[in-house]
């Protein structure tokens, strides 16, 4: 199944085709990336992928899509990782690798610049 572009020139949030969610609110997306919500509504575990904090796409994703600052998320992840209280998202080195990881991982969520069209990857709409 090919992904459907919401915004061919901006950032799109992508999920594995096993995810049945088609829209997500900005605050729900924040909770997923802050590792506060770790399962989809059908109880499938969420696997969160990110690009490196300083990559332009990540900066744009944080500021324009979630309307927060990248360091806020990084701080939450560091606290979780180095206190043993939780796990951080998985960092991938490029948008191509992000697409491939989301395509092959059930429950995965990520983001890319542009359409994000790929087999087993769906684009979801961010509201709010």
């Amino acid at each position: 199944m090919l992904g459907i572009s919401q915004n061919a020139f901006g950032i799109n949030v992508i999920v594995n085709s096993s995810v049945t969610v088609h829209t997500i609110s900005r605050s729900e997306l924040w909770r997923v990336y802050a590792m506060r919500t770790t399962v989809w509504p059908d109880k499938q575990p969420i696997v969160v992928y990110v690009l490196s904090t300083k990559s332009p796409t990540n900066q744009q994703f944080c500021k324009e899509v979630m309307k927060i600052f990248p360091y806020q998320l990084e701080r939450i992840w560091n606290k979780l990782t180095f206190s043993g209280m939780g796990v951080a998202p998985i960092v991938v080195s490029s948008e191509q690798k992000m697409l491939e990881a989301v395509a092959k991982t059930p429950g995965a969520i990520g983001y890319v610049q542009g359409s994000g069209a790929m087999k087993n990857v769906n684009t979801i709409k961010v509201e709010g």
Partner: protein
């Protein structure tokens, strides 16, 4: 030994609490390496000899393994060398079993069993993580290095309940109950080499509550701690007597995270009751208080500037230490009753995961120099002292 029993006990119950696992990336590895130089003038904060010291080494490695979708094992080993600030050596920072009891769009409930790390103060769980704390030396009024190994966590259990929605925002509640083992090196940091007996923490219960209004840049927190320590004097020559230390500690904090500016403040109020120890009939309760205000300015993605002012006194009935001086017959200078610190610094990211950090401290008073039970006015013979530190850090 106690830790092993806890883990074995919990592992035997896993099949009844987990649900099936799916997804990838069950293993995670992270770590850090940091080495610095610290130059302290006119105090024995790091060494009995003032001057430049390389005793600013911090190494750590941690791992987490998900063997069921809601059950995880995680552990971290660290090696620290901070001179006299805390015991030099390797320690198991945490080794815990994390059971995700419940999770949905609004609630997240987790229980941690084993050796857990405290999560109650603003920087308590990242105080020894060089790249995740605001400065190399944290405000000693709250993050007193002498108590580092005790304040870091404990062997027992912890509970974390997070709630989020679009009206209330994020509400986080943490509770922990567990005790810390105090080895010989740590005992000497706290009680001096002249205490030849054993000190044990008999209990330590802590709770904290945090609130971030929905999508707010502000977050507010409260915490409380109740703990007791027992000291049994050594069989041979011991300068001290049997004693009990009862400790209650309350904090309030606020943090603002803006695009360029970040502001934070923590206020604490402590009751410290000593029964015995100095003499068998000795009883005294000190009510200490402290606070700091910190500003960080993110000049760009790589450079962050730091400014901080901190104030602390051991006894609010003796803020300038004059009663302490009088009670000791003039042997302990009054500046051992307080410690104030003015700090400026910066951190610069050379590249992703490689940072250099620098700071300068102007300190007035010696109330947070270890061991506080036995002040050393011969070496610490000045009310005003200074230090600077620089540290290079890498993490993955």
């Amino acid at each position: 030994m106690r830790l092993t029993f806890i883990l074995l006990f919990v592992l035997s119950f896993l099949p009844t609490v987990g649900y099936s696992k799916s997804g990838s990336s069950d293993w995670q590895w992270h770590g850090f390496v940091a080495q610095g130089l610290i130059d302290v003038n006119h105090s024995n904060f790091v060494d009995n000899n003032s001057g430049l010291s390389p005793k600013l080494t911090e190494l750590g490695i941690n791992s987490s393994y998900n063997f069921l979708s809601n059950v995880r094992v995680a552990g971290q080993l660290v090696y620290l060398n901070g001179g006299r600030r805390y015991a030099e050596g390797v320690r198991l920072d945490y080794l815990l079993l994390d059971w995700g009891i419940f999770n949905d769009a609004n609630w997240q409930v987790n229980m941690y069993l084993g050796r857990f790390k405290n999560n109650h103060w603003l920087y308590s769980n990242t105080r020894d993580i060089p790249f995740a704390r605001p400065s190399i030396i944290l405000p000693q009024s709250i993050y007193y290095d002498g108590f580092r190994d005790i304040a870091m966590g404990g062997d027992g259990g912890a509970l974390r309940i997070n709630y989020s929605d679009d009206k209330l925002g994020e509400i986080d509640f943490n509770f922990s109950s567990g005790v810390s083992s105090i080895n010989k090196k740590a005992k000497q940091v706290i009680l001096s080499e002249y205490a030849t007996g054993d000190i044990k923490q008999s209990f330590d219960n802590q709770a904290s509550l945090y609130w971030r209004p929905n999508f707010s840049a502000w977050r507010f927190g409260l915490s409380m701690l109740d703990s007791n320590f027992d000291y049994q004097r050594g069989a041979g020559a011991d300068l001290f007597y049997d004693g009990v230390f009862a400790f209650q500690y309350y904090t309030m904090n606020a943090i603002y995270e803006g695009e360029r500016w970040e502001l934070s403040s923590e206020i604490h109020h402590q009751h410290f009751k000593t029964s015995g120890f100095y003499q068998s009939s000795y009883v005294k309760t000190n009510i200490g208080q402290g606070a700091y205000v910190q500003a960080r300015y993110k000049y760009n993605n790589d450079l962050t500037l730091l400014m901080r002012a901190e104030k602390f006194y051991l006894d609010r009935a003796d803020k300038n230490g004059s009663k302490l001086n009088a009670a000791s017959g003039g042997k302990i200078p009054r500046y051992f009753g307080f410690q104030n610190d003015l700090t400026v610094g910066f951190s610069y990211d050379i590249q992703d995961h490689l940072r250099v950090q620098f700071e300068q401290h102007w300190v007035q008073g010696t109330g947070r120099l270890s061991p506080t039970v036995l002040p050393n006015p011969q070496i610490n013979n000045r009310e005003y002292w200074q230090m600077w530190a620089v540290q290079l850090m890498y993490w993955f």
